[in-house]
């Protein structure tokens, strides 16, 4: 495989890992944040 293509693939895989890794972390912590936001908000009945 061409070296430049290989470099782009390495960058692409790192970028994918950052994306999906951060997505997992944000999802887990985001659930807690969402609960805080809604529990701290007065509701209109």
């Amino acid at each position: 495989m061409d070296t430049t293509v290989l470099i782009w693939y390495v960058i692409f895989i790192i970028a994918m890992l950052f994306f999906f890794g951060t997505a997992v972390v944000i999802t887990v912590i985001g659930v807690r944040d969402l609960k805080d936001l809604l529990s701290g908000s007065a509701t209109k009945q």
Binding site: M1, D2, T4, V5, L6, W8, Y9, I11, F12, I14, A15, M16, L17, F18, F19, F20, T22, A23, V25, I26, T27, V28, I29, G30, R32, D33, L34, D36, L37, L38, G40, S41, A42, T43, K44, Q45
Partner: protein
């Protein structure tokens, strides 16, 4: 037909859930700040999820995939540039922290504080026009994606576009930013999963080695080196370097999420964490586009190649999940954009023109009416307007129409004490000249003399918009320091 019963069930279950949750969020809207910025109580992870969901839509998948199809790996450079742009903002709080400390809801509000009410009006009009034109192609691109992946063909495009729009308007108009934040979070989770599924199935069908070989055969060095690619080059890259920071920090739908955060520090961190994901969310759809080139060859319509690929390689069941993810991405983008542009129209155009202060109730009611009108506009525009260039070029140049002037006004306003009202007018007008010139002259390219053809080079126009906006601010301010002394602002929120 690629779409089967199980896919429909998954899709309808997801759409039903989104609308139900979005409308239920109405219970939490107590006042105007609740409606527009969710009471400014959003924390880092939730803010990051909602910002990412806003910035990813089917339209972004479509134009990045189109770029991948026509430029190979060269376009991956945009992911790297965008990543560094967000890192600069996330690390330094450039622009977003300054605006958050002033507790503004829209960017033109800052113009009024720093330069006066008329600058707010002009800035609001440019922001609104550029923003709505920018959004004009979203629905059409989304419609093409759905009809291609589901296998319906172009005949049902208008119906698909209308249904999507009705769903989003229903909960955005009712629930405001609370709806947007809650549904964005659900949509973020679903779309990340959808992207993972799509990438996995693409890689099962087309391997890395084949894709690399096809790109080199099709484009040669231009497929791996953006500097020699005829669509890019240095002008484009410099434009993107400036533009990535400007548009990231000043794109009203995105910064609304920063304004909704519980402090300036949280707003800055939201950009930092969002930036970490940026290279991936640019490169993944670009990779799908490159894979479509390897799978179908170079003769396809670049716009439809990627959706055709996904519709072909993703099996039934997973296809429903993936489409739900993609729809999730689009719905979160629409809802945030509708809310952002309607808030600009209400607060920065109609209210200043009417010369009286609106009650919170009136502001929210007007905003809902304008959201609906914008929705109708993008439906009609999407059905009848033919793009003058690639979708990415169109989005970038209409973005520059408002971002260049806004960047001149806000960046200089926050960090240069001599910035004044004359500089602001010059910056806004000069920044809009090159993009508007491009959109007009592009229609007349058949009659333009060859010496003027550089004016319809989208890269030159985009780059010049930022240069002219900066020059306008600097020269306009320096020439009128005595007649128009600058206004000095003090932040409303200390620390943070």
């Amino acid at each position: 037909m690629n779409f089967h019963l199980i896919d429909w069930i998954i899709l309808f279950a997801y759409l039903g859930l989104s609308v139900f949750v979005g409308i239920r969020a109405k219970r939490y809207v107590e006042n105007m700040e609740g409606y527009f910025v969710a009471g400014r109580r959003v924390k880092v992870a939730l803010g990051s999820a909602t910002l990412i969901a806003t910035e990813i839509g089917v339209v972004t998948f479509m134009y990045f995939a189109e770029l991948g199809y026509v430029t190979g790996f060269s376009c991956f450079i945009l992911g790297i540039i965008g990543f560094f742009g967000y890192m600069v903002i996330g690390k330094t709080g450039f622009i977003v922290s300054g605006l958050r400390k002033l507790k503004v809801i829209t960017i033109p509000e800052y113009y009024e504080l720093r330069y006066g009410r008329n600058v707010r009006l002009l800035g609001g009009i440019l922001l609104f026009l550029g923003g709505v034109l920018n959004m004009g192609v979203f629905l059409r691109m989304d419609g093409i994606f759905l009809t291609e992946t589901m296998g319906f063909g172009p005949n049902v495009l208008a119906i698909v576009m209308t249904v999507m729009l009705l769903i989003v308007i229903s909960y955005t108009v009712v629930g405001g930013m609370f709806s947007v934040v809650i549904t964005d979070f659900i949509q973020f989770v679903v779309l990340a999963f959808g992207m993972l599924i799509a990438t996995a199935f693409v890689l099962i069908r087309v391997d890395f080695a084949t894709i690399g070989t096809v790109v080199l055969k099709q484009f040669g060095e231009a497929g791996v080196n953006p500097l020699v690619n005829p669509r890019f080059g240095w002008t484009f890259l410099i434009w993107m370097m400036i533009g990535s920071i400007a548009i990231s920090a000043l794109n009203q739908p995105a910064v609304s999420k920063s304004f909704a955060s519980e402090s300036a520090s949280v707003g800055r961190k939201v950009f930092l964490y969002t930036g970490i994901t940026l290279a991936g969310r640019y490169m993944i759809p670009m990779f799908w586009g490159v894979a479509a080139l390897a799978m179908f060859g170079p003769t396809m319509n670049p716009t439809t190649a990627m959706p055709r690929l996904l519709g072909t390689v993703v099996p039934s069941g997973f296809l429903g999940l993936m489409i739900a993810g993609m729809l999730a991405a689009s719905m979160s983008t629409y809802s945030a954009y509708l809310l952002a542009w309607s808030s600009v129209a209400t607060r920065d155009i109609i209210e200043p023109l009417s010369k009286k202060e609106f009650s919170e109730k009136t502001t929210m009611r007007l905003s809902k009416i304008i959201s609906t009108l914008i929705g109708i506009f993008i439906l009609v525009f999407g059905l009848f307007y033919e793009l003058p260039a690639t979708a990415f070029q169109y989005i970038a140049i209409t973005g520059a129409m408002y971002a260049a002037g806004a960047f001149g006004c806000v960046a200089f306003g926050l960090y240069w004490k001599r910035a004044n009202i004359v500089g602001a007018y010059c910056s806004l007008c000069f920044g809009a000249v090159a993009p508007v010139g491009f959109l007009v002259l592009e229609q007349l390219k058949g009659v333009l003399p060859s010496s003027m053809l550089f004016l319809i080079d989208v890269n030159v126009s985009g780059f010049m918009s930022f240069v002219l906006a900066a020059l306008g601010m600097i020269l306009g301010s320096l020439a009128t320091q005595r007649s128009h002394p600058p206004i000095v602002l003090k932040p409303k929120e200390e620390g943070a």
